[in-house]
Symmetry: C2
Subunit: 260 residues, 2 copies
């Protein structure tokens, strides 16, 4: 089943997506809802992010080649030994097709990171390996846009990864997914840049959820971005980034570089 | 004016606090509200956190003695040169009087950090030094409880600072504050530990808000914790931490160490 959120007469509404048919619901995708009578066409609606998270979690280096490349791992900063989660900020979220706006003082080193996003469906603490995935509602796609100079020089990732518009997420949530079957493909201006097995992570989704919930409570709508593989060329004004995950969909966003 | 949120027949409600009189309102403290007819006594209500933030910002080292002490600043990790903000997570928030619960595998090095908390009142981007404080709704108090071993060894602060219950905030929001008049006093089991001028920060509230909103949009209800001064003894089971900021109030929380 696919869930979207869309702009409807000044409000943001939730709907089930069946093929290209949008069926708005009343209520909450995580608990009780009623399907309305009306139907819309996907081509006629403007999507919002498919969920607005209460807490926005993100794994760091979680694929071998990404951790080893681009100077991200080094003797001072080795690849992780444990599934330690990090955070991103909701101000930076934008929907499918909305522009990534790069501030005028950013350096050229602005990169994409194509990621699978876990959407939490229920309140959960102390999950174990057997029941961890029962806390998952579904999956969507994220682009963890990063300004690498700020990422290295600032004491936190606040502006490197959380500048407004740096977190495209969508287009929708897919609830029926076989993780081991998924493949992530990133395209820049239509040209394939990388293709990798989405679930081939250093620490898997179960590893993260078990470790996180030993210390913290997850809530419906929380999202966990699972990290990316490989490296990205520097994004230029007018570029279009597409992140496709087979069985989920394609997240597409143009890049706009603000004049100085 | 003081604002509280309190538990009322299974829901969380907003109210104005006048002396010890609680006057519930209908609506939103940041926009339109109506005062209800009924009055309650503060002693009869159970407080919740005074705001549930959309994004939970926190400054790091922002007072001279704290940055220099406790091994937090070092040649590898100098005091900040710019007002770079960080993040905390909402799962960890608890209200005035609720217990800080320390997990069984935490080390002895669990510390308090008494902080003033800025509550944002309106959507804001690109604030300047003249209008930055116009985005502030009021101020409350936070205790940035920290497990120092995890803080040093984990790649992020996820569990050192964001374990459930590690972020007491309250008891209320005070909207009428003269920042330069404020003094922070931290007491442990009734005994004064430190007293400092609340506004004597390395980077002030205006510095942070101006720099943050160059890159990100603030929203009503966002909170910015401004850092702490000095060091803390290790917190023991049964301890009670009180953080008083003159003109705002006192945030008090007991410490419970979970058995292993």
């Amino acid at each position: 089943m696919r869930w979207i959120r869309f702009h409807d007469d000044g409000a943001v509404r939730t709907a089930i997506l069946e093929g290209s048919t949008v069926r708005p619901v009343r209520g909450d995708m995580f608990s009780d809802y009623e399907i309305e009578d009306r139907c819309l066409d996907l081509a006629d609606v403007r999507l919002d992010v498919p969920v607005f998270p209460r807490t926005f979690y993100a794994a760091g280096f979680n694929y071998q080649a990404h951790a080893a490349s681009a100077g991200l791992a080094s003797p001072d900063r080795p690849a992780p030994k444990e599934a330690n989660i990090g955070y991103r900020a909701t101000n930076a979220l934008i929907a499918h097709e909305e522009p990534i706006i790069v501030p005028p003082d950013a350096t050229d080193k602005v990169n994409y990171e194509g990621e699978i996003v876990v959407v939490i469906g229920r309140k959960a603490k102390n999950l174990d390996r057997d029941n961890a995935l029962s806390a998952v509602f579904g999956y969507t796609i994220g682009n963890d846009v990063s300004e690498r100079t700020w990422q290295k020089t600032d004491s936190t990732f606040w502006r490197a990864k959380n500048t407004d518009t740096f977190k495209p997420m969508g287009p929708w949530i897919e609830t029926d997914v076989v993780l081991d079957d998924l493949e992530t493909v990133v395209r820049l201006n239509g040209e394939e840049q990388i293709r990798f097995a989405t679930n081939d992570m250093i620490f898997g989704i179960v590893d993260y959820l078990v470790r996180m919930t030993r210390y913290l409570t997850l809530y419906p709508g929380d999202v966990v971005w699972m990290g990316t593989e490989g490296t990205s060329p520097n994004l230029l004004d007018g570029d279009v980034v597409e992140i496709e995950i087979s069985g989920i969909g394609t997240l597409r966003n143009p890049v706009v570089r603000q004049a100085g």
